[in-house]
Structures are given as C-alpha cells and as structure tokens.
C-alpha cells in the first residue's frame, strides 16, 4: 500500500529550472504515468522520489511519511525508502548471475538461504525467466535483462515501483510484449507504479492515470488515458498523443466553413470563437467518393494493414489512414491526383488565437 505526494517541489540545475512549484498525488494501487517530451524533467522527478536527488524546495511524502523536506534539509536515503526501481539501461549487475541479481535485496536484508532460494525462484517464474536463473547477464537478451531488473525490483515486495523509461532500449515487438506484461504484473500484485516515459503509446496502454508535462516541466493535464485522448486540454497535448491534423475552420452565422466549403457535422463545437481549429486523427477521417469536404489525394502509400493518404484540403494537407481490407471492399483505393470527399467522425476544437503550437500541415 503506497501513495506519493509531491508538494510544491522546486528543482534546478545551475540556471536551468527543471521544476517550479510542482504538485502531484499518486494514489495507492494505481499505475500512474508521467508523460512528456525528453528533457522535460520527468526523470528528475522520479530520481527525487527515489532519493537519488534532493528537491531544492518542497516536500515529498511516500505513504504519508515525509521522505524529503527542504525546510529541515532532511532526506531518507534511497536504501530506506522501500522502493523497487527499474532503469532504462536495465542496470543489471554484470558480475552476478540472474539468481544473485534478483536475490541481492534479500541478502542485504539478511534473510536465510532457504527463504531467499524460495522467494527468488518464485520471482524467476513470475517474470518469465524460468531455467535462466544460472545465466550471467551477458548471456541474456535485452528483454531478458529487463526482466531480471523487474524481478530484482519486485522481490522485496515493495508497495511502490518506479520505472524510468524501462522499455526504451527494447525493439518494437518486445516493447509491446513487455508493456502488457508490466500491466498484468501490476494488476496481479496490486502495487503502485510510477512510470516515466516519452512514448505516448506505452503510456496510453498501461496507465490508470497519466500526467502530461510540457518541455518546461509544467503538468498540463492529468486524467485517464481515454479522458486525455478524447478531451485534451490543449493542442500541445493533442499533438503529443499521436499523428495530428489541424484544419482552420471559420464560424459564421452559426455555420462552419473550411475555406469556402461548408462543414456539416452532428456535434457543434464546444467553444465559440470566430477562428477555430479542428483537430483530428488520421482514422477520424472517413473518405468517400460521394459527399463531404472536397480534397485531392497527393500521396498514396500502402503500408500493409493500412492505406495511408495525404489529401490536400483547401490550402492544407490532411493525413488519413484507412484499413486495407476496408479500402479494398469499398472501392476506396485512390491513386495520386484523384478527387475524394472527407467526413469527420471525431473532432477536438481549439481556438486558433490561443493555440500553443505552430501551424503545421500547410501545403508546401
């Protein structure tokens, strides 16, 4: 059982203010992900929670007990915080076998040999390393090494696990596999996870809640994956979460226009401003040969499972994706230069005048 509370934490390196007045609460038993671009200070926060760094100002509580307090200059050292930590570069000790790596926390805790053996073998099975316990780390693949690190972090029965971009060094297939496994382990063991990543796909897949940080270390939105994906607080978040299209939309006399074409949609925009921007994902566009906003295919790109089209709409380029099977069945395979019609399933609306990110997708 563990929760984390970050209270008005400040941290800077020389002149670089990484964190300013940061407040966060991570609830007991949840998988909480801190998602942000590289250099936003997310790893620094993880290191402060772990005790490898000390906040310049502010307090950190783990399980309602204070572990770092800048007022009293007090800090509980990392070895007494009762955490499991998994690092991006695995940090598996190369001079110890898989067994010895995983057993180390128990040896430090001076447990008896029999107990160590039993517990380690349990963990070895749990993380899928059965029969590999005698190997040295150099004889393991990257994925297996990360399993060792995971096992080592789990063996002390920590109530809190900190994971710092643990999947970064793995190849795409393994990354997909491991993220499902971490999620399954967390559910099974009921531990609290604090996960740091810049990969939105991983974050969406494993988190109960996500906090999104911008480059300056400011938390911009906290919510469930579905929540932030469907209702992003601003265009930065929208853009960060996947391939994004932005189209300028004029609002006039209760009607919506993209360039000179009128846009018909079921759900009216939830904000009213003269200059709107419609944001949508590639799969939110339905292309057809009959009606909708007119566009011209500028690039047709077959990717296997999907057809990827770039479509010129007024003066902008829109990127869409349609399932290959669907395209073949419904005569939606377009050639470059062909005319097509667009309708939109789902749109997030932003006020053009208060957008944070630059305009993209202009026709070159």
């Amino acid at each position: 059982m563990a929760n984390i509370r970050i209270e008005s934490v400040y941290k800077s390196y020389e002149d670089n203010h990484v964190h300013k007045d940061l407040n966060l609460t991570i609830n007991d038993g949840e998988c909480f992900t801190l998602l942000g671009p590289s250099g936003c200070g997310k790893s620094v926060l993880l290191r402060m929670i772990a005790g490898f760094e000390m906040p310049d100002k502010g307090k950190i509580f783990i399980n309602d007990q204070i572990v770092a307090d800048s007022d009293t200059k007090k800090s509980v050292p990392p070895n007494q915080r009762d955490l499991g930590v998994v690092f991006q570069d695995y940090a598996v000790w190369p001079h110890m076998s898989v067994f010895d790596n995983i057993a180390y926390p128990l040896k430090i805790a001076k447990q008896s040999k029999e107990i160590i053996k039993e517990k380690v073998m349990n963990i070895v099975h749990l993380v899928g390393l059965t029969n590999l316990e005698k190997r040295m780390p150099s004889q393991l693949s990257g994925g297996q090494q990360q399993r060792v690190a995971l096992g080592r972090a789990l063996i002390g029965n920590p109530s809190l696990m900190l994971l710092d971009e643990p999947l970064n060094n793995l190849d795409a297939n393994l990354r997909e596999e491991m993220r499902f496994e971490i999620k399954a382990l967390q559910k099974k063991l009921g531990i609290t996870i604090f996960f740091v990543t810049h990969d939105q796909e991983v974050a969406l897949a494993i988190s109960d809640r996500i906090a999104i940080m911008n480059e300056k270390g400011k938390v911009m939105q906290i919510g469930t994956p579905f929540d932030i994906f469907e209702n992003p607080a601003n265009d930065f978040i929208f853009k960060f979460l996947g391939v994004s299209n932005f189209l300028d939309v004029k609002q006039q006399d209760g009607k919506l226009y993209i360039g000179s074409q009128e846009l018909f949609i079921d759900k009216k925009p939830n904000i009213s401003a003269p200059h709107l921007v419609a944001a949508f994902r590639p799969t939110d566009v339905e292309i057809s040969r009959s009606k909708g906003i007119v566009g011209t295919i500028t690039r047709s790109n077959f990717l296997g499972a999907d057809m990827d089209y770039l479509i010129a709409v007024e003066s902008k380029i829109v990127r869409t994706q349609i399932n290959t099977y669907n395209a073949l069945q419904n005569n939606l395979v377009f050639k470059e230069g062909e005319k097509c019609f667009l309708n939109f399933n789902s749109i997030s609306w932003f006020n053009k005048d208060t957008m944070q990110t630059g305009h993209e997708g202009d026709l070159k």
Partner: protein, 353 residues
C-alpha cells in the same frame, strides 16, 4: 524491359548455402525490394549484384553486359559496374567535405571540371544539401549523412541504385521522411532501385515489387498489395505483419473449433487440397476480425488495451491468443466477457507448414 537479371545464382559460405538457385529480373526504373529476416541471404544477394561477393553458380547480367558468370569464369569488379550504392552505416568519408564526398566518383571518371561541378551541385540540390556543401559530414545528423551517401551514389547518374538497409540507422520519424525522399529522387533521376530491408512496412511503402526470402530461398515475388493480400505461404503471411493463427477442424460444411458450432466461409473458400486434411490453420490479421453478438468462433476476452486511435483486444480461443484491433469508437466486449469472433478475411494453411 528488364535490366538486372539473375539466372540460377547460388552462393555458399563454406558448407552453408547462403543463396540457393535465385532467378529474377528487375526492370528499368523499377523499385525492387528484397525482404526477409536477418540471415535470409538478402544482403548477400545485393552484394553479389554489387560485385563484392563472387558467385558459386549461375549468371548475373545488367542490360547486355555480363557482371558475373560462373560458367565462363567471368567476374567484373565492383568499381567497373557503374552502380550507385548506399550502406546502412552511411559510409560517408569523414576526412572529405560533403561536396568532396559527392564529387569523388565523378573525379574518378575523369570528367571535365565544369561537368563535375555542375553534376555535384545538381546531386546536392536534389538532396537538399547545397547549404551544407562545405561542411564536414561529421557535423551532419544521421539523416544528413545518409543524404550525402545518396547524393554520392546518384552523382554518376547510375541506372541502378543498390540500397542496403539505408534507413535502419535512422530514428523512426526520420525513416518515414527519407522513404519519400528516396522515392522522389527515383522519380527525378529514373534509376532502378534494389532495396534490402527487414522492415516490411518500408518494403510495402517503397516498392513496385517485393521479393520475400527465407534461408536463401525465394518465397514470393509480387506487388506489395498482392504479397499482403495473397501471401504465398504461412511464412510470408507471418512475416508481413501482426498475425493470428488458429487451429480448426475442417469438414464439408465448414470449420469448427472445440467450443464452436460449424461456421461456413463462402467468401474465402478452402483449397481442395487442404480440405482433405482434418485439421488446418486459420490465419488472420488483427484488423480483419470482427465481433458478432452470437455464433462465430467463441472466445474469452483476456485483455483490452486502449492504444489511442485503436483498441487492442487479446482473446483466448481454446488456449490460442487472438489479437484484434478496432477503432476506438467501435463497440467491443469488456475484459472477462465471452465474445464471438467473425473472421472476415481468413487465410488457410496446412498444420504441417
């Protein structure tokens, strides 16, 4: 019109047969990809075309010129083959400037000074490197270095460009961008491309035709769409994208699993040859499976993951995991529920494959 032609080409390394009896032709201006897992012989084939490896049997031609012929004991060294080539690790020369790198092959051709300058600048222009001409390649990013390698390869205006995993040292975002740059260069210069990759989506996006290879043996040569939609065998199917395989028993009326009723599939009939076997493999893509309210093949939903635009489902069907991907707005079952699967584009393979 075919330009490169391989006839019965075989290559051995010691006892190991790296490439076995290879036959194919590549047309002028065609983009031809060789796709396969590492160690399948695709790079060796490219290096035989380039001339870095001799052949143990067969012939290789370019136009009316013989490049290698075992029968006649003939072998033209790489420097005389007039190909452009780009390597995975960029291989730009760090002691020469960007301009000197690109001008190097032209200088070897002993062209006139003005022509060297003009053709180098032309190649730099089309690879967006004019501003970097005086820089050292060490100061460029990975993408920049690979552009220098491309410019250097196309400076002599070759009829064929050999590309050996040219994008796999780049980060994913850049990889996609460079794909289109290569395509655009091909459109402008009109060279044929022989492209080696292990990344199926790269091969799909770039190629006119794809050759899929396994252990030195050709599995299929077809257009990308055909390779995707009508894979020649189970290996090609599994290599070309995320795959599901399900063992089913087959009878005249249709197919069934242990827990299902008999389901018939009029749209994608089973080969007569396969029908004689009792058990066969149903292969299917995650995006080509739907949920029915009843009937179909039953299973239990083990995991439902929200991945943004799509939702990823893992369904347990008699111990086999079936992955299904649906748009996030499409309805689907919840974890733990029983669901009914509709395979709307199945492929059938023998259990013995």
């Amino acid at each position: 019109m075919s330009y490169i032609k391989l006839v019965d080409v075989t290559k051995k390394f010691g006892e190991v047969i790296a490439v076995n009896n290879l036959n194919f032709e590549i047309g002028e201006g065609e983009c031809f990809s060789m796709l396969g897992p590492s160690g399948c012989g695709k790079t060796t084939t490219l290096r035989m075309i380039a001339g870095f490896e001799d052949i143990d049997d067969g012939e290789i031609y370019a136009g009316d010129k013989t490049l290698s012929s075992k029968k006649r004991g003939y072998y033209l060294p790489p420097e005389k083959r007039d190909f452009g080539m780009v390597f995975q690790a960029f291989a730009v020369w760090p002691h020469l400037s960007v301009y000197e790198n690109v001008a190097f092959p032209l200088k070897l051709k002993k062209l006139k000074r003005e022509e060297i300058v003009q053709r180098t600048n032309d190649a730099l222009k089309h690879t967006n490197l004019l501003d970097a001409a005086k820089k050292s390649p060490a100061d460029l990013s990975g993408g920049g270095k690979q552009r220098v390698a491309l410019a250097r390869a196309l400076a002599i205006n070759p009829k064929v460009m050999l590309l050996d995993e040219p994008l796999s040292s780049l980060d994913p975002h850049l990889r996609e961008e460079m794909r289109f740059e290569i395509k655009d260069l091909q459109k402008h210069y009109g060279f044929a491309i022989v492209y080696v990759t292990h990344d199926q989506s790269e091969a799909m996006a770039l190629s006119d035709r794809i050759l899929v290879m396994k252990l030195g043996v050709v599995q299929q040569i077809d257009s990308p769409l055909k390779v995707y939609n009508e894979p020649a065998n189970k290996f090609v199917f599994s290599f070309i994208g995320l795959s599901n395989f399900l063992n089913v028993s087959v009878s005249d009326k249709g197919i069934k699993t242990k827990d299902s009723g008999i389901v018939s599939y009029p749209k994608y009939p089973i080969d007569d040859a396969l029908k004689t076997q009792k058990d066969i493999v149903l292969a299917s893509r995650p995006s080509e499976i739907g949920f029915l309210s009843e009937g179909g093949i039953p299973g239990i939903l083990k995991r439902k993951s929200f991945l943004g635009e799509i939702i990823d489902y893992a369904v347990d069907v008699n111990g086999a995991e079936i992955r299904i991907q649906k748009g996030r707005k499409e309805p689907g079952p919840n974890t733990g529920e029983t669901c009914h699967l509709d395979f709307y584009h199945p492929h059938w393979y023998s259990c013995n494959d």
